[in-house]
Amino acid sequence: MAETNVAQSFTERRLGSAADLKLYQEELLAQKDPQQAEVIVCYGTGCLAAGAEQVEAALKEALDQAGLDTKVRPLIKTTGCRGFCSRGPLVVIQPEGLFYQKVKASDAEEIVQTTLVEGQPVERLLYQDPQSGEPIPREQDIPFYKKQHRLVLGRIGSVDPTDIRESIAAGAYQALAKVLTGMSPEDVVSEVEKSGLRGRGGAGFPTGRKWRGALKAIEKKGRPVYVVCNGDEGDPGAFMDCMIMEGDPHAVLEGMIIAAYALGSEQGYIYVRHEYPVAIKHLDLAMEQARSLGLLGDNILGSDFCFDLRINRGAGAFVCGESTALFTSIEGLAGEPRPKYVRSVEEGLWGRPTVLNNVESWANVPLIINNGADWFAGIGVPHSTGTKVFSLVGKVNNVGLVEVPMGTSLVEIIEEIGGGVPGGEPFKAVQTGGPSGGCIPYSLKDVPVDYDSLSKVGSMMGSGGMIVMDERDCVVDVARYFLRFLEEESCGKCIPCRLGLTRLREMLDDFSKGKGTEKDVEEIESLGEAIKDGSLCALGGSAPNPVLTTLQYFRDEYLAHINERRCPAGICKELISYQIDQEACTGCRTCARLCPQEAISGEKKKPHTIDQDKCIQCGICLESCNFGAVQVISPALVSQKSQEAAS
């Protein structure tokens, strides 16, 4: 990405008014030849991890080699995440909109030659319809994208996030211009109120009401007031905020600047998880470029309005996603939450009125201003308006980032957009809301995904992680996983959370070992309630949710563990054993070589066996077997040693 040149070219220009911005946008659009070929390489984390950088380099080299005439020479552009991560690295050729997936560096030459020189698609790189097997050349025709309604993600994938000019050409900061030229702060707040936008970070508190509350607090306490962006997206398996910050940082900035205008704030903070270095880099760059254009800092767009932002990098604490912990962290302390009996719009950062919204909420604000509250309220369902971005992961074919109108049913998202579970069987459960959320069983597959419906079934919207589980996932194990995660991430300040999560997890550990009684199930529920009631912050307050919801919907599976000593999904180590199917085993020795316990024996090219006394159920044999010969048995085979001990 051409950061340095971009940065240099701004020093000459400062946008003195809203009209100036419009003019600049038109200039930028005019500079662009709509017929100019563009090679867009997705630089989302998934694609990068899969080798997008190498693909880009190879494409560049191939273009140089091809010696294309500079006039027709296409532009290579890198963008934020296109969302279809399981198919990365992704390359899109514009203006045709050809969509190449799973591109390797070695494909570069062919792409250049076939597509750019000869104008033909490279068939084997196209997405194939899973049903018909027909190639689908264009992105918008792929089922994964067809069902989506990409608004917040609108610019992502088409603009280079490191060059503000692209975003401006695509309409960034027009909402800000609109606000500064024709809207009073009151107008802005009521517009957001009317839109029905609710916080995208978890609890779904109406954003407009929050801003209104801040205005009231300011009346009482005066300024300064702060606007803060919560980019400490910590839920494992959720990465939509990351992709928004990386792919369209200006949307976030614009939303915050608009709020700052409405509230009269002069300073804002963006708190970003440190595991997101690219997001930090892009935000930083975006701020710098916005400042040099006069879109941020003193006298924004020539007005009297001054507002600046600072990025606070998180330092590795999930709990800092909790609002009060995030404030203490910005203040430079250990990120322990404070009791929230006085709301943060009254007493937030440094005890001042503070408006905290998450990344996706902020990115929605310019859309509302640009298109009007009524337009926004028309999307989705009543009380849950607009769209929501989800990261769809787990046992689903199309892993990636999806944006759908609120109220879309669970099954639509998973089966139609997500392409269902690999292997075609129905999903077993979907975990939404991250560690604070719950598991929704297949039987509730038609539940509309909106704030209220999800809470009704015991889960929550959360920040938008959607983890699909199949029959080979054990609910006890998943509940333990989330508990262990939260146990590790608990700040340790209050006793119910610090001790309770460990104790709850230990009780589940017993279950996973087949120990426990039905009475313990009730005790788990009782302790879960105590933790919910007694914990200081939302982390502890919602921590028992995964356990409580799985108990609600999958009680039988829990009981199977203790009553039959059986893990139906074949996951809980103590209740399973591995066995080699003597028919299927080819004696390739791969498993025997990898087994850390040297528990697998057998001659070459003859079926192998596992010594149950040595086996530690690490599962490496299962993972490494290329012939499907390793089987999981539950209830476990009783090992020779324990047999002997028993006799």
């Binding site: 991890a49 839920d235 604490a317 430079g332």
Partner: protein, 156 residues
């Protein structure tokens, strides 16, 4: 013979920020990324600069997972334990690496060669389970792939 400086000027880092408590974490982060851990002297200097009592800075440095008070190894192996990676066997990889490296997650091998860490989610769930070695992503990592990678580290 000439070498690029390996050590970073700690005073230069300190002077990047005003001496206020709100910059404590910034300073710790910069020191952490420069030294890959927070040396005791640096912690004291940061305290002098920000006016934060040593005990409080120590508390902050031990609270956040990204800070280390012990020197890190030359290479970092990070296993993702996000939900997607968990479902696809991330824990198994941690167990496996712990056995291979003979350290627990979060520790560094005695020869200061490798530090083994776990992370909550790297945001590339499509590739799960993922292991990152230095800046190299191992997609759909397996015990076999890790063996190869570790060997290449030792050979460097």
């Amino acid at each position: 013979m000439s070498t690029a400086p390996v050590e970073v000027d700690i005073d230069e880092i300190i002077e990047r920020y005003p001496g206020k408590q709100e910059y404590l974490i910034f300073l710790l982060q910069d020191v952490q990324s420069a030294f890959r851990y927070i040396p005791p002297e640096a912690l004291e200097l940061i305290c002098d600069h920000t006016g934060v009592p040593l005990s409080q800075a120590y508390s902050v440095a031990t609270f956040y997972k990204s800070f280390s008070l012990k020197p890190k190894g030359e290479h970092q192996v990070k296993v993702c334990l996000g939900t997607a990676c968990h479902l696809k066997g991330g824990e198994r990889l941690v167990d496996d690496l712990e056995r291979k490296l003979k350290v627990k997650a979060g520790e560094t091998t005695a020869d200061l060669l490798v530090t083994l860490e776990t992370v909550n989610c790297l945001g590339c769930c499509a590739l799960s389970p993922v292991v990152v070695v230095d800046d190299d992503y191992l997609a759909q990592a397996t015990s076999g792939k890790l063996n190869k990678k570790l060997k290449s580290l030792a050979a460097q």
